[in-house]
């Protein structure tokens, strides 16, 4: 078990991508009660668009910013044109969910038509490796983790110290009270979708640089992000991030020490066990909605 620190380190590095996606899911859910299954595909589309820009000479750092912007704007458009018309309230919970499933399929197909099925290699932001706890990690992954942590810190800052961020938290806590003191729900919703999809694009960008840009880039990470969200609680940003990192580490520990074959099953078994003990996740607010 001498490589346990190494396994945990690589788990945390993988977990940072899951955490960004998880955070995006939670931010969007808190603002509009919508579970956005298209978040991964939206982010992937943004990465594909930037690969074209990179092929035309855009440096990786600028491409990352561009990807965030594209995904954020796409998220805003999704909310405005597909989600808002469905109406608010829990009646549309599963309808909104199925709409995002449909949107995900559309984006997936569009990527296939425009960029084909061959994976596209994305130049990493940096090359080289660094040794941490006796395990070598690529600079790309280290930077990805660093940027992921920085993005999370920026989001924490936004929600903690800016008026609009505080308003978003307020709105998530009590839609009605926020409305009667004059906070615009539409602005909150747009912003939440921008941020949610934008940070998902950061995750997608580094996943692409690590492997390659392909239409299924976020499939398995999104799956783990959802696991993290449910582990941490669908209403807690901190819980989702902690949950996602936990999944990253559990996944790596299970893959290394238990079985590379059953790691998904082991991780999901743990989540189901946790949910049976605490149905709202370990940091989520107890909340029951019926459709």
């Amino acid at each position: 078990m001498g490589d346990l620190p190494a396994v945990i380190a690589s788990g945390l590095v993988s977990g940072s991508a899951y955490a960004l996606l998880a955070l995006g899911i939670v931010i969007i859910f808190r603002s509009t009660d919508t579970v956005n299954f298209a978040i991964g595909d939206t982010a992937t589309l943004a990465v594909f668009l930037t690969t074209s820009a990179m092929a035309a000479g855009l440096p990786p750092a600028a491409a990352l910013v561009l990807a965030v912007l594209i995904a954020g704007l796409a998220g805003m458009a999704t909310e405005r044109f597909l989600i808002r018309p469905l109406g608010a309230g829990h009646k549309s919970l599963f309808i909104a969910l199925v709409v995002t499933i449909g949107l995900g399929l559309i984006i997936h197909a569009v990527i296939g038509v425009i960029w084909g099925q061959r994976p596209i290699v994305v130049a990493p932001v940096a090359t080289g490796t660094v040794r941490v706890f006796g395990v070598a990690l690529t600079l790309n992954k280290i930077i990805a983790t660093g940027i992921a942590l920085a993005a999370m810190a920026a989001i924490a800052w936004l929600f903690r110290f800016t008026a609009i961020g505080v308003a978003m938290r307020a709105s998530a806590e009590d839609h009605f009270a926020a409305r009667i003191i004059g906070i615009r729900p539409t602005v909150i919703a747009s912003l939440a979708w921008f941020i949610g999809c934008g940070i998902a694009a950061i995750a997608a960008f580094f996943l692409a640089a690590d492997g390659s840009a392909n239409a299924n880039l976020t499939l398995s990470p999104l799956f783990r992000a959802f696991a993290g969200v449910f582990l941490g609680g669908l209403t807690s940003m901190l819980g989702a991030a902690v949950g996602a990192f936990t999944i990253g580490v559990l996944d790596n520990v299970a893959g290394r020490y238990l079985s590379a074959n059953y790691r998904d099953t082991i991780v999901f078994g743990i989540i189901v066990a946790v949910l049976f003990i605490r149905p709202s996740g370990f940091l989520g607010a107890a909340r029951k909605e019926r459709v």
């Binding site: 008026a163 938290r169 307020a170 409305r179 009667i180 003191i181 004059g182």
Partner: protein, 247 residues
């Protein structure tokens, strides 16, 4: 209440049904600028609904809402009339319990569209009105404050919007008598600064000590209205609350 042209806020023939449930029936009330009014009545009489309608937070199913004589019924039901200077402290206060005192207050100004500097100025002013415990605990989550402190924060959050009219639903709810007096004293002070104040109160006698006008609402209808100084006020309350069959 007289429907004089100078009424700052006026509900005219308002009816409200929510999913078929009748809450208000042909209610007309108004408050002149600078007045201190109490709408009193037992639980479930329709006070909260009336408060929401006067704040523009919900749209009445019939009747009109007038602000400074202008019909604003159509504007109601979205974000209230915050930008027109109407602030509501709803039933149960509806503070953001997980947010700090500072954040709750800041949002009051943010919702009314105040800028950064203006918010800071108002914040200093409002903290001046707050009790010591609230000022010291400005970085505490509101949920951890006592009931009285929370009520003061709720008033503070409303004041951050620089309102001309403040509507307060059940200011006395869950408070010890000494705190109730404190709350009413604060409201009276506010009124001195020229703000129009309306309270919606079950504990009528307490309210009558501070206000100048009152109306008794019962079962969704206005039963009596008059001046707080009226010697018959107590009898009106008894009739309104307990019915007329008594000897």
């Amino acid at each position: 209440m007289s429907q004089d042209a100078t009424s700052m806020i006026e509900a005219a023939g308002v009816e409200h049904r929510y999913e078929g449930v009748l809450a208000l029936h042909d209610v007309s009330v108004s408050a002149p600028a600078g007045s201190f009014t109490a709408i009193v009545g037992p639980n479930g009489a329709g006070k909260s609904t009336l408060a929401l309608i006067l704040a523009g937070a919900i749209r009445p199913t019939a009747g009109r809402l007038l602000l400074d004589g202008a019909d604003v019924t159509e504007r109601a039901g979205r974000r209230g009339l915050v930008e027109a200077g109407v602030a509501l402290i709803p039933e149960g206060r509806r503070l953001f319990g997980q947010l700090t005192v500072d954040e709750n207050l800041t949002l009051g100004a943010f919702g009314a569209g105040a800028g950064r500097a203006e918010t800071a100025r108002r914040l200093a002013e409002v903290y001046g009105l707050m009790p010591e415990a609230v000022r010291k605990g400005k970085d505490r989550a509101v949920a951890t404050l006592s009931g009285g402190e929370q009520q003061m924060v709720a008033i503070g959050r409303a004041l951050m919007a620089r309102p001309r009219l403040v509507l307060i639903d059940e200011p006395s709810l869950g408070l010890a008598p000494i705190l109730i007096d404190k709350v009413y004293e604060t409201l009276a002070m506010l009124r001195q600064t020229g703000v129009t104040v309306m309270v919606f109160e079950q504990l009528a006698v307490k309210a009558l000590q501070y206000v100048d006008r009152f109306a008794v609402i019962e079962r969704g209808q206005i039963r009596h209205q008059g001046l707080a100084s009226d010697p018959d006020a107590r009898e009106m309350l008894r009739m309104g609350y307990m019915g007329a069959e008594a000897a």
